[in-house]
């Protein structure tokens, strides 16, 4: 057990549940903003895992895990800004917030 006093498995359990909630939300929601929020939940769960693994198994290279987490946060910030811009453009053009109605790219 680390000096923090929390077994590392607990972090994996929480991140698993957080990721599953994100999957549930991303599949269930029809509102594009809510889907983006669910995706953010999933990315946060992944980041918890990166940091927890690095903290408890990364004796050889302790920097790598946090570094991955930083890049995930960076990409997530870019993703959310672009995603919300697309949502705004869609709302202006279609007057609708249901992803089931956005089928312009349907083959």
């Amino acid at each position: 057990m680390p000096e923090a006093g929390v077994p590392v498995g607990y972090f994996f359990a929480v991140s698993t549940l957080l990721f599953s909630l994100g999957v549930f939300g991303a599949l269930r929601r029809t509102n594009p903003v809510a889907i983006l929020m669910s995706i953010e939940l999933m990315l946060n769960a992944v980041n918890i895992n990166f940091v927890a693994f690095s903290r408890h198994l990364g004796a050889a290279d302790p920097v790598r895990g946090p570094m991955f987490a930083i890049f995930v946060i960076t990409v997530a910030a870019a993703e959310v800004s672009l995603g919300l811009a697309i949502v705004l453009a869609l709302l202006r053009r279609r007057r609708s917030a249901d992803v089931n109605e956005f089928d312009a790219l349907k083959g």
Binding site: L27, T74, S81
Partner: protein, 172 residues
């Protein structure tokens, strides 16, 4: 008394409940505010794991910047347009189309991952240590210099793209 463990369970409860509200709450503004609580809870996990800098970044970027952008988007758009489904919670959770299949998939995924983690030998490895900000900064500008520069270009591209996309048609 094992205070870190107490803090962990408190954070886990708050974070998971907020995450649950994020995925089921009808009012999108409430879901966004619960998402902010979940982000702060995740920052608490980072602090518990000794990653102080990441906890700081989490609050700054997620609870600060991402939440601001989300709330601005929700409030700039017509609220009725982004409200989404209007079915009551019970019907949504039990209806085959909107609730049952995603719930079954998510529960199956959770059970699979938890079983894999519980049975894995990964938990018995040698322990790492907390990484300080100086060490992180040095690695970012030496070993991870190329990804760092690529990330900055990515952020610039995302910013330009977001501006172009969210501008109106006739304003170019």
């Amino acid at each position: 008394m094992n205070w870190p463990l107490v803090a962990f369970f408190f954070l886990a409860g708050v974070t998971l409940y907020s995450a649950y509200r994020v995925v089921v709450d009808e009012t999108i503004t409430h879901a966004a505010l619960y998402l902010a609580i979940a982000f702060v809870g995740v920052a608490g996990f980072y602090a518990l794991l000794g990653a102080d800098f990441l906890a700081f970044v989490q609050v700054l970027v997620y609870a600060g910047a991402v939440m601001t952008v989300l709330l601005f988007t929700i409030m700039l758009s017509d609220i009725r347009e982004v409200r989404g489904l209007k079915l009551p919670l019970f019907r949504r959770l039990t209806s085959p189309r909107w609730g049952a299949v995603p719930a079954a998939l998510a529960a199956g995924l959770a059970a699979l991952l938890l079983a894999a983690f519980a049975g894995s030998a990964l938990l018995a490895g040698p322990e790492g240590r907390p990484v300080g900000l100086g060490e992180l900064a040095r690695a970012l500008l030496t070993t991870y210099l190329v990804p760092f520069e690529v990330a900055s270009v990515l952020l610039l591209a995302a910013m330009v793209g977001a501006i172009v996309l969210s501008k109106g048609e006739g304003e170019r």
